[in-house]
Symmetry: C2
Subunit: 253 residues, 2 copies
């Protein structure tokens, strides 16, 4: 197994570039960091092109099938590749997946309208995965799915459920064409309380931008708009918390 | 009004130090950043010692009562003081508040056991505030309340409800002594589903460390331990999302 000691190594330089959207699209790959995520990639049979691992990982059983693509790296190289202060020391170069829109939209979907913070997006995808949702759609203006912070907070959920990128208004039409109810969300007491929504096996739920909420076009297009009554003093909830409360309520009915 | 152009100005150097716990405790003050938070401090009648504002804020009506303590700063100085890449340009030096434990514990309380991420802690305090909780207790091993990232995600909720710091086992005893039910939380299906808990006006809910959950001592001391059933594939929920789901369920009953 090749041992890489220098940040100037061509493979390391190429891998480091794969944390940036432009290069990810060009190479059709992204860089995944951390033992949990690399294991998830392996288990879900993602296409792994390379693995870079410090000595504590190279003997791991899960990596056995990947001997030809695995390179041992020095701790300094792990620090160079990492987005964190205390890297675990394992990375994988993984192929992007472009999910095709299913003809029939069954199950529950989460739609994210111009959410800005990658940590919030990743957390919401993770929560949708936990709640058994069928998919997530990132609208235009959202951070890219393979943003390093987003990957970290998503915890591998993109290996469990499809994440689409597209125009949300088109998606809303698709759902409505199939009689799937679409729920917007807003901080507005004239909207419908989330507690009043009946349980439904098929639905779409839209969460919006941290500062501005769901855009007016989408609120108008939605079948109903929901709000979470706030008995206390905070003006609003963090968007990922609101999404969690709503998703777990909607599956409970 | 004094105009401060240099990062070397003594007041700026002193204010900059107030982002660090050690100096906050010594001076009994912390540095608050952002227009929303400064307004919250003013409205809640927190003791404000100084305000540093760029020209766009100095004429603001809300600052009129603070003319003697307000200093105009250059944009470069705002960048120097800021914890963010694109600062709004307003800061306040605010006195710490030490909340005394009430004799009678009424209402709902959130207890945080060794939660590590300041963003998670701030988000949970914000959610507790929204849910109308009576207070939050940060146990030993949690990040300090006046951590800049925590202040940012808390969105001023510490001006709305008391946040205590102390030993959680002592707090659990206090609640139980007053017959207030204490609920731990764990990722364990042998715990009680959160959906089965009756609504209660008085209760304490414990959330734990991101990796390790609530410590065993506290799980054993709690009256009951709750879990959130996860129908999907994610192994767990983000702790702030779990806290939000639980708090909004517990107020709904």
């Amino acid at each position: 197994m090749e041992y890489i000691q220098s940040n100037q190594n061509a493979k390391i330089k190429a891998a480091k570039k794969l944390t940036v959207k432009k290069n990810q699209r060009k190479e059709n790959t992204y860089l995944l960091e951390g033992w949990h995520l690399v294991q998830e990639a392996i288990q879900s049979k993602a296409t792994i092109r390379q693995i870079f691992a410090t000595d504590k990982y190279v003997e791991e059983r899960a990596l056995r099938g990947f001997y030809d693509q695995t390179f041992e790296i020095a701790p300094e190289v792990a620090q160079h590749l990492s987005e964190t202060k205390a890297p675990q020391g394992i990375f994988a170069v993984v192929e992007l997946v472009e999910n095709t829109v299913p003809e029939t939209l069954e199950g529950r979907y989460l739609l994210l309208d111009a959410v800005q913070d990658p940590g919030n997006i990743g957390t919401m995808i993770r929560t949708a995965d936990a709640a058994g949702f069928a998919g997530v759609v990132l609208g235009e203006g959202s951070v890219d799915l393979y943003n390093p912070k987003l990957l970290r907070s998503m915890q591998g959920s993109h290996f469990h459920l499809p994440v689409y990128q597209g125009k949300l208004l088109d998606w809303v039409k698709r759902f409505q064409h199939q009689s799937v109810p679409v729920y917007g969300t807003e901080l507005n007491q004239s909207a419908i309380s989330y507690q009043a929504v009946p349980k439904a096996d098929n639905l779409a739920l839209i969460l919006g931008n941290e500062g501005n909420g769901v855009s007016v076009d989408l609120l108008l297009a939605a079948d109903d708009n929901l709000y979470i009554p706030i008995p206390g003093h905070a003006e609003s909830l963090n968007v990922a918390v609101a999404a969690g409360i709503l998703m777990f309520k909607l599956i409970e009915g």
